[in-house]
Point group: C2
Chain length 170, copies 2
């Protein structure tokens, strides 16, 4: 109860905005917003008998073509067995191509096929549309703050990967 953030003498917003209630609101906002964030792609995926796991695999294959299973595992934070099941169906359905590694034959390099690119684009478009609408609505100032908070919330390892992906495309 001696939390300085709740100290009565903290008159300015700079301290007051960290009350438990404010933090709780942020937590709930994150919860509800994430539902919205995934809602549009989820609807498309459902019609194709795919799930969010497939979307994630397609997304990161799209933005890092030729990536390996290992790399995808560390980005997605799942076990290789879990990823493998998803990849297997995507390869079987002709959305992803898995080529045996050139230098290291243990590795598999993953690429989207034309059909894979097409679906990934459809999913991305749906998700971006909502993002774009939100960004437009609140303005660049708010978007900058949004990005800052998200980055500050990541684990260091996740932040590292986030930057690596960005830089890889730049």
């Amino acid at each position: 109860m001696a939390d300085p953030d709740r100290a009565p003498h903290a008159g300015g917003e700079s301290l007051l905005f960290l009350t438990d209630e404010q933090l709780r609101q942020g937590i709930e906002a994150m919860f509800f917003a994430y539902r919205g964030f995934t809602a549009d792609p989820d609807r498309i995926l459902a019609t194709l008998d795919y799930g969010r796991a497939h979307h994630r695999a397609l997304h990161f294959c799209a933005c890092a073509p030729g990536t390996t299973v290992s790399n995808l595992i560390s980005i997605l934070g799942v076990t290789k067995q879990s990823l493998n099941r998803v990849l297997r169906t995507l390869v079987a359905d002709g959305l992803i191509e898995s080529r045996v590694g050139h230098a290291d034959k243990r590795e598999r390099n993953l690429f989207l096929t034309e059909a894979g690119q097409e679906l990934e684009q459809r999913l991305s478009d749906a998700q971006r549309a909502r993002m774009r609408a939100a960004y437009r609505q609140v303005g660049p100032e708010a978007v900058s703050g949004f990005r800052k908070v998200l980055e500050a919330m990541m684990d260091p390892e996740q932040r590292r990967q986030y930057h690596a992906l960005r830089d890889g495309r730049a």
Copy 2:
């Protein structure tokens, strides 16, 4: 390709910040940040053989004591069968008390027991700690933007519930 957001004449950030690449970064930030957002409570839950679903139930029971199963269902966006399984274990473990409704005996009013409050507090504390650290790091300006974007990303129904919860506590 005639996307106005990518128009080369858009010199100011006010238009440029909506490129596909910027939106893609936002999407990935959301993905990585959500992992961080749930990481701390997840660790606690794992030691108790609970999952995120239990955390959610505890959270919304805590902030709306006496709420009904129906209400929880609409907040969480899951089916009653799905919620029921989670509630059953929480009631069996003595973390939640389910009282038959007073006016309408079909309803069940849900309350946290003392043990339930204790666990909810532990989970909340862990999650808030990360949120607090992030908020502190980026400052109130950024936090305000963060909240604005999240709210803009919600579906109207989710936004309505988000506000209802806030107002219910105010």
